[in-house]
């Protein structure tokens, strides 16, 4: 099923203690599913799924976006001026 490269930034990178991870892709894994795999690996990320946006290959995507072999998944915490967007 392949592998995705995951990138972490800012607070999430601090919490996980890494800026990058590889995730094996199970059947029909979504961006949110990739995050779930990471939470198992880095429990300090627990609860942050409501807080991040997801990007796949440098484009914002919904949490339900399917992840494919070779994709780069990024976990995007709110940016500093983000309160205006909401």
């Amino acid at each position: 099923m392949g592998t995705a490269r995951v990138r972490l930034f800012a607070r999430l990178a601090d919490l996980a203690g890494t800026r990058e991870a590889a995730v094996e892709l199970g059947e029909g894994l979504t961006a949110a599913g990739v995050f779930g795999v990471l939470v198992q690996r880095y429990p300090s990320l627990t609860g942050f799924d409501a807080f991040v946006r997801f990007a796949v290959n440098s484009e914002y995507v919904p949490a339900s976006h399917p992840v494919r072999d070779g994709d780069e998944v990024a976990l995007i915490p709110p940016v500093s001026g983000g309160s205006r967007a909401l």
């Binding site: 990138r7 800012a10 601090d14 484009e59 995007i76 915490p77 709110p78 940016v79 500093s80 205006r84």
Partner: protein, 142 residues
């Protein structure tokens, strides 16, 4: 258009040269500068983290939107990463246009969009602690 995310000092001359065109009578240039206070706290320095490949892509998208909407001539953006001291420049946004009103309005709109959408984050190191500044928790900020 010019979009850069860099650990080096920003270069206002470079961004202004980039947007200058013989048919553009106005250039609006915005500097985001590290401020010594925020929400009542004394700031010591900032640290910026970025997702550079995506940041430049999003900068391109929002610049294209703004260029279309305001009919301006040319746009250039630089953002710095890493540790920045008080008074250093974190962001430059330059917009050129035939006339001044569009240059001002487009530049302002572009800075607003930048702060909403571009994946760059700042950690505030203040007297007594440090904190990643995240949208929902912090007021709109220069």
């Amino acid at each position: 258009m010019l979009f850069e995310v860099t650990a080096d000092q920003l270069d206002p001359d470079r961004v202004v040269k980039h947007v200058r065109r013989d048919d553009a009578g106005a250039v609006a240039l915005f500097y985001g500068v590290v401020r010594d206070h925020n929400r009542g706290r004394k700031v010591m320095h900032l640290e910026y983290d970025a997702y550079p490949e995506m940041a430049t892509k999003v900068m391109h998208q929002i610049a294209a939107e703004v260029k279309e909407r305001f009919g301006v001539a040319e746009i250039a953006i630089q953002h710095r990463t890493g540790r920045l001291e008080i008074g250093e420049t974190s962001l430059l946004v330059a917009v050129s246009s035939a006339h001044r009103s569009e240059a001002f309005e487009a530049c302002h709109a572009l800075v607003d969009r930048f702060k909403e959408a571009v994946p760059i984050w700042k950690k505030e190191v203040f007297e007594g602690g440090e904190e990643w500044i995240e949208g929902d928790l912090s007021p709109p900020d220069a």
